[in-house]
Symmetry: C2
Amino acid sequence: MFETAKIGRTLSKAAYKAEEEELRTELLEAQIALREREIPVYVIIAGMEGAGKGEVVNALDEWLDARGMHIYAFWEETDEEKHRPQAWRFWRAMPRRGEIGVFFGGWYLSPIEQRFTGRWSDADLDQSMRGIRELERMLIHDGAVIVKCWYHFSEKEQRRRLKALERNDRSRWKMMPKKSKFSEQYQRFEAAAAQVVRRTDIGRAPWHIIEAADPRYRNMTTGRVLLREIQDALATAQHEDAAEAAPSSTDWDMLPQAPEARITLIDRVDLTQTIGKRDYRKRLADLQTELNELAWRAYAHKISTVFVFEGVDAAGKGGAIRRITQAVDARLREVISIAAPTDEERAHHYLWRFWRHLPRGGRMTIFDRSWYGRVLVERVEGFTSHDSWARAYLEINDFEEQLVQAGVVVQKFWLQISKEEQLARFKAREDTPYKRYKITDEDWRNREKWDEYREAVNEMLARTSVRHAPWNLIAGNDKKFARIQVLETITDALRDALKGRA
Amino acid sequence: MFETAKIGRTLSKAAYKAEEEELRTELLEAQIALREREIPVYVIIAGMEGAGKGEVVNALDEWLDARGMHIYAFWEETDEEKHRPQAWRFWRAMPRRGEIGVFFGGWYLSPIEQRFTGRWSDADLDQSMRGIRELERMLIHDGAVIVKCWYHFSEKEQRRRLKALERNDRSRWKMMPKKSKFSEQYQRFEAAAAQVVRRTDIGRAPWHIIEAADPRYRNMTTGRVLLREIQDALATAQHEDAAEAAPSSTDWDMLPQAPEARITLIDRVDLTQTIGKRDYRKRLADLQTELNELAWRAYAHKISTVFVFEGVDAAGKGGAIRRITQAVDARLREVISIAAPTDEERAHHYLWRFWRHLPRGGRMTIFDRSWYGRVLVERVEGFTSHDSWARAYLEINDFEEQLVQAGVVVQKFWLQISKEEQLARFKAREDTPYKRYKITDEDWRNREKWDEYREAVNEMLARTSVRHAPWNLIAGNDKKFARIQVLETITDALRDALKGRA
């Protein structure tokens, strides 16, 4: 979930200067239009301790016209508030139509704290998130725009920041915990935050996960997110025809223009990694032997597994999958290759075709392409509306959560190769008679959309990588290296699931 | 919630015959149109044991073209199903686009059973309902129509039926429990069902609570509900402009045409009830004395109260409220009269103005008219869209649930008088100088819409009367009798809330 906030995105001083003036002008224009159209805007500023949420609010305060903007912070409950239902404090603070309300933490602060401190169980948190979802949907139905920003960074960065704050003595964290304790706290907080973010990442009010390490990147991204969300809302409000007016901005559009601000997780995959031939043979044999045994044990304990393979064309999905099927008894596993839907599949909800193929107790299903098609090919090719794919992240997270709750082990693989490597493989396929069938005009067309896929992949990773069903980014330029990575991940996951069992 | 299923609605044989032919023709036409527009329809048949759900399904089977209809029953889980996530069995049974799937119990059967038997806590149920809401919203986003019917009747009727079933030896209830035990079971089942229905009564897939005592009424209503829901969906699908195509049928439209099938809860209020002058004085003095003391004790224990007064014009709300305020110290209570919203109120969500006035710990707020304006005057006068008021039932139930969860005592009063009595009071007001200000042209206009208000009131009572925030129907033709009823209800509620406290 928060991997995209640990990429190391920055924004140079020069680029910031260059973009700021235009942003301010556009923001003010948007604010005037908002007032005219009487659209209320809720901006929720939430995230890690020390991420600079206060500075973000200050930047917004500077950029926007103060007459149409209100800032609300929810610290300790007042007496007035304590004696009323919890939501009362928020209802007191609702912005008027045409105004922008900036909420420090919003209705998210207390639930995360309650979960983090262990006062709330998962079920308590769930119930609270259900309430928040209803509240937000209710406001959206009433014409509101809700912009939710989550500020995050790595453990190392947070540690550095909090130390600095400590020196300045402006912090509420007077005592830094010991390193191991700090680590444990960081992870516990992140887990609670991930639950909250995942459960409230609704299509019409998605979370924007913003890397907070670089203040210029952080502030500029916030400004652009707010601008784009308002512009989309204005476009919708101006059209009588709702279908035509669906939102058009993507996460990618909301990033600053400078290249250093647009690095993706995929760019961070080290594609130069390789493995020697002899090492490969040895590791492969070991891993396949172990996998065979693990698969039988999983069968005995009725632990089902679902493995999802996605990746750019010619990234080596087939080869990686074959190394699994070689090792697992044919009675225990099934490979489902997802191509264009059949008539029957088209006649149902898009998730229906995947539900059909779920493994029963103790079996393994390997999806060669999957439900992620909705937010990849269907999005990029325009086969489905913006609303549909924006809504799909939550639907997919819910779906996978149901699998995990039923005890299924879920691992997802994204196989990445460089653009040059893809070209080389395409050419090799064309030159090899028995591989020629594998390359089609469509592959070449997809290749032209390399950048659009990159954006879609990045958003997919950001919104659907969760602890219980993680994405594994596999460096695929060396096929052998990739296969070993996949097998290692799978055996680790199965070993974990079988821990403590006979 | 289920009061509307205990009214005693029937349908004569003649009326049934007369309506059936038209219904069948229209249903078949609708089914053909469905197929052309590729709209999938989910019909969920749920309700009390012995309510004749099977007979309803048989009727639908007879009326509809079997080629486009599938019936799914979910009895015991099969082995195949047990080893997969819970929702898998439902995903297997989804109707294709253009087809009608009839689900016995649907996804509601198991949650109600789990709660009824006590294996699930409230929180478990809540979590499950959250999942169902997401599932249904997902299907609706995908173009589906979900028609949810709940069959219900009184305890006496159920007892009679189950006995008959027992004699026929076709029942699963081989042994009838003893009467007191039966009562307890009936109430526990009803409570679990009410939780489920309330939490999943979403605007786009509302529950239809159908009185099941009379088989003809039950079947005909089901057929008409299905027909109207499909017709609405077809109208929506044919319009490009979603706003113009919003659903137009109301609960009322879905009832059979015969008068005996259209009796409302209000018709069942015995308006002839009166109280003698001497009795009135005595009771009034006793109740006001007790109320005064109870209000102080509630203050001491920080138990807040919210009382809602709605009713037809000139039903005597003001007089009833005055009898409360006379008894309660002015520092402890506030009367909020709701008229047309102010500019500031109009600039917020419609619930905002009510949140503002919630009492703090230990106080009493009396709303003279309330948030129910959205589903009464705003609905009848067309001040808000069909979608908005249809959505409002859930919003209102959520709102009141938040009050109750915060420990607030909530009681709602509907004051009813006959149309003749209203006319007499209007005339009396016009003839009395100091009362003339109370009567306006609007009152006369509202009077012309007597029947529309009756329908709106009936639906409001059906959808928002819940155990923790019940509606009390007050017979208002005799003002004194009405006031005593109100005071008795309020003192009972406060006494209950204070039970076991000093």
